[in-house]
């Protein structure tokens, strides 16, 4: 028998990158918030510069709740299920994955909000890829700009602006949408190799610039600047310079006295009252059941868990899952196409032993619709990113570019000379939703509590594979201009699989027939249910989702602050 707790105004499921952001405007406005987090608090003492533990033993995900619920995946509805991974992409902790992610912190391009209308205008409606269910977002960049700004300052993002109110600054990204003001901090420092790559890009007539990061480039809000120690890739920050919600918005929300953080809270279902509206959340802590009643439920558990919880929360009002009467939950899913990278071997040391993945040089000339696709056979593009990041075990496992076997004396001579001479680029590509790609509940595999896990059915389609091939060409060109003596490319993409950048499943849009949440992030069918995270995003653009998801979360929370009585469930 579950213990029923005192009702709160808002319960947030998940205190990660987006749940952790939403808590702040709510509590600052005096709204009572209970944050249910499956993980625990981790601190800087828990973030040793230990490659073995961080990068090879999947710590701390390996001992966490999410690891019991890793989704299954298959390419199409008629494909066999792939072997399940052993580490969930997301971390359960206060702060969630914002504790250890790469912390690149991008705004989307204006085109990303208007893919349908802009593609139609520029190239004709026939250029929308067949089978895609893409829609324009219900608003454009101008609507979300103030929230990007809010999060950048509140959380702390370092970067170089390229377009302030229409005035282009060539030191930044000339393709970005207009922004009101500069970043709160200058970009992370460069280094010799990054300077060389920037020079090579300029030789090609491109427009390189340092990328934005939710990492302190100098002391900010009484937290240290980045130490560039080289363990930022899947590691937390030992000096709190990586601006997770655990060291920024959550403590500030707690300081208002209005946020109650409940850790080790394993949420199972969302309860629906007899009035057909969500009435609260069921969860377990140490095996003991609790029911947390709330006037508003905000779902912020990452895309897979957001969808899973909705599908598991059936009731008379919602027999196919909460907010799923239109059968849109799980639809319009996609894993961001961020693979198909390019690696290069240089005849000199890169000196990448120190640095971080967010310390790098970007080229956006080939991203989204920043270039003319008139004679091409795809839409969208990719952000080319080179960065400074290397650790010993990873270096030992480096690609030998076909020059030597992977072990033995020849290998040893090769690694002695070349351990610090390779560089792998990261190419995030515009990805769209398709009819065939979706999330649902696995019919067989269950978590230890007996609940079905999420199942991913998705593959990269022709459009995205063509983007991959095109951007690989550009990346190879860039590397060779900088002096690379060998280049290798990954495959252009097959099954999507379980991803760190998962989008859709609870898409946001004005049309309730094709979208789960409205333009403010609240469910069309259950108005006091809000969804936070990239599961509401209908396109990815060529940049990672975190800042956008955080900006949307702030916006949803602010909407709730301004309209609390209109949105909240009233007790009958």
């Amino acid at each position: 028998m579950a213990t029923t707790l005192k009702e709160t105004d808002v319960v947030i499921i998940g205190l990660g990158a987006v749940g952790g952001v939403a808590a702040l405007p709510l509590t600052q406005a005096g709204i009572e918030v209970v944050g249910l987090e499956a993980g625990t608090w981790l601190t800087r003492r828990d973030f040793a510069p230990d490659e073995l533990r961080n990068n090879y033993r999947g710590w701390p995900q390996g001992v966490q709740k999410a690891n019991q619920e890793i989704p299954t995946s298959r390419a199409t509805a008629s494909s066999p299920t792939a072997p399940r991974g052993t580490i969930h992409p997301m971390q359960n902790a206060v702060g969630g994955t914002s504790l250890h992610y790469w912390a690149q912190s991008w705004r989307l391009n204006p085109w990303d909000f208007k893919v349908v209308s802009e593609t139609t205008r520029r190239y004709g409606a026939g250029r929308i890829p067949k089978g895609s269910t893409v829609e324009d977002w219900p608003f454009g960049l101008e609507e979300i700009e103030p929230y990007y700004d809010k999060v950048e300052y509140e959380v702390g993002v370092s970067g170089q602006a390229g377009n302030i109110d229409g005035k282009i600054d060539p030191r930044g990204n000339k393709f970005e949408g207009p922004r009101k003001r500069a970043y709160p901090m200058p970009p992370l420092r460069g280094n010799e190799f990054l300077d060389k790559m920037a020079g090579a890009a300029r030789s090609l007539g491109w427009h390189p610039f340092p990328g934005p990061a939710a990492v302190n480039s100098r002391s900010y809000q009484n937290r240290s600047a980045c130490m560039y120690h080289g363990f930022c890739n899947r590691g937390g920050c030992h000096v709190d310079a990586k601006n997770s919600t655990a060291v920024t918005t959550i403590p500030r929300a707690q300081a208002t006295g209005k946020l109650k953080v409940v850790t080790s809270a394993h949420v199972t279902t969302i309860e629906v009252g007899s009035d057909g509206l969500p009435s609260g959340v069921n969860y377990l802590t140490d095996g003991v059941e609790y029911f947390q009643p709330a006037k508003v439920v905000l779902l912020a558990g990452y895309t897979y868990e957001n969808v899973r919880l909705l599908l598991l929360s059936t009731s008379k009002a919602f027999p196919d899952g909460l907010s799923n009467n239109h059968h849109q939950v799980g639809r319009h899913y996609f894993s961001h196409h961020q693979g198909a990278g390019v690696s290069a071997l240089f005849p000199f040391n890169i000196n990448a032993w120190y640095g971080l993945p967010a310390q790098g040089i970007a080229v956006d000339n080939w991203a989204d619709d920043n270039f003319d696709h008139g004679t091409l056979d795809f839409i969208g593009g990719g952000n080319l990113w080179v960065y400074s990041d290397r650790r010993p075990i990873g270096a030992a496992g480096m690609n030998t570019f076909g020059r030597v076997p992977n072990w033995g004396s020849q290998w040893k001579a090769f690694i002695k000379e070349n351990a610090d001479r390779s560089n792998t680029s990261y190419i995030q590509k515009s990805t769209l939703p398709y009819e065939d790609n979706f999330l649902d509940l696995d019919p067989v595999v269950k978590d230890p509590l007996g609940y079905p896990v999420c199942r991913v059915t998705a593959e990269y389609k022709e459009n995205e594979r063509r983007i991959a091939a095109y951007t690989q060409d550009k990346m190879e060109q860039w590397y060779r201009e900088a002096g690379a003596i060998a280049v290798q490319r990954g495959p252009v993409g097959g099954a999507m699989g379980v991803s760190t950048h998962a989008y859709g499943g609870t898409r946001m849009g004005d049309n309730p027939e094709t979208n789960v949440v409205n333009r403010w992030g609240f469910s069309h069918e259950a108005p006091n249910l809000g969804v936070l995270g990239a599961s509401v995003m209908g396109t990815s653009g060529a940049h990672n989702p975190t800042l956008t998801a955080q900006a949307l979360a702030w916006r949803t929370a602010e909407r709730l602050v301004k309209n609390f009585n209109g949105i909240a469930r009233r007790r009958s």
Binding site: P49, L52, V63, G339, N351, W353, P392
Partner: protein, 249 residues
């Protein structure tokens, strides 16, 4: 009472694993392939076992450890380019880890090492540890490519596991028992774990002037030492960002 610093403890632990004879890795020259005069293809040569007191085993049997020792010595050999997995004590790392984070691989080692030795005997006519370095290399190539018989599943999967763990044991933080005396980090010129890297440090590195500091992450009490008992698959790759582009050859 003499105070023994943690660093000294680490150093002593590492020294126990190395032969007491000076010029250790020179005495292993004839196991490598770098000296053609000593190298006669096809001639079986007895295994140059450890010239030192056997260190305490934690999870492997003595027989398994002998085979593993011989395998890692071929994967990252001691040769003209300096010390290898033997001096790094990679096998000791694996032995220790099999009782902890790599516990789920214990069955794979039990069956894999036995299969490897059986295959060596049936195909090359002697126990793996008794074969010449050349024949050991030939056996390992067949295990690596999946041509070897007698393994549960493909021998290639076991080989990949061995190689990954040997890398961990050679290039991981010495706290875990491998990379003894920072032999692995020195091979690849990794200047070491630092909690702060200034712009001046980076410039020193770029001038090839940053000296290795030979520090473990756990030199001090700065960090907690939580570890996870976790399935250790070959190099978990959640997303392609972390992997080199692997060419389809």
């Amino acid at each position: 009472m003499t105070f023994i610093s943690r660093r000294d403890l680490l150093k002593r632990a590492a020294v126990v694993g190395v032969a007491p004879v000076a010029g250790t890795f020179q005495s292993r020259d004839d196991r490598g392939a770098e000296s053609p005069a000593l190298h006669e293809p096809g001639v079986a040569r007895p295994f140059q076992g450890r010239d030192r007191a056997r260190e305490p085993l934690e999870n492997l049997t003595a027989g398994e450890m002998d085979i593993l020792d011989a395998v890692v010595a071929r994967l990252i050999p001691t040769d003209a380019n300096g010390p290898g997995a033997t001096e790094a004590r990679a096998a000791h790392y694996i032995d220790r880890a099999l009782g902890g984070a790599l516990a789920s691989s214990r069955p794979a080692y039990t069956s894999g090492l036995a299969a490897l030795d059986r295959y060596a005997r049936s195909s090359r006519g002697a126990a793996f540890t008794q074969l010449s370095a050349t024949d050991q290399n030939s056996v390992l190539i067949d295990v690596e490519t999946g041509a070897a018989t007698g393994f549960t599943g493909s021998s290639a999967a076991f080989f990949a596991l061995l190689l990954n763990h040997t890398h961990q044991g050679t290039f991981g933080d010495p706290y875990y028992g491998g990379n003894a005396n920072f032999v692995g980090w020195d091979l690849i010129s990794y200047p070491g774990v630092r909690t702060m890297v200034t712009a001046a440090d980076q410039q020193q590195l770029e001038k090839h002037a940053l000296k290795p500091n030979h520090k473990s992450a756990y030199e001090t009490d700065m960090f907690t030492k939580a570890t996870a008992r976790l399935e250790d698959e070959s190099l978990p790759r959640l997303d392609a960002r972390d992997s080199d582009a692997k060419a389809e050859v």
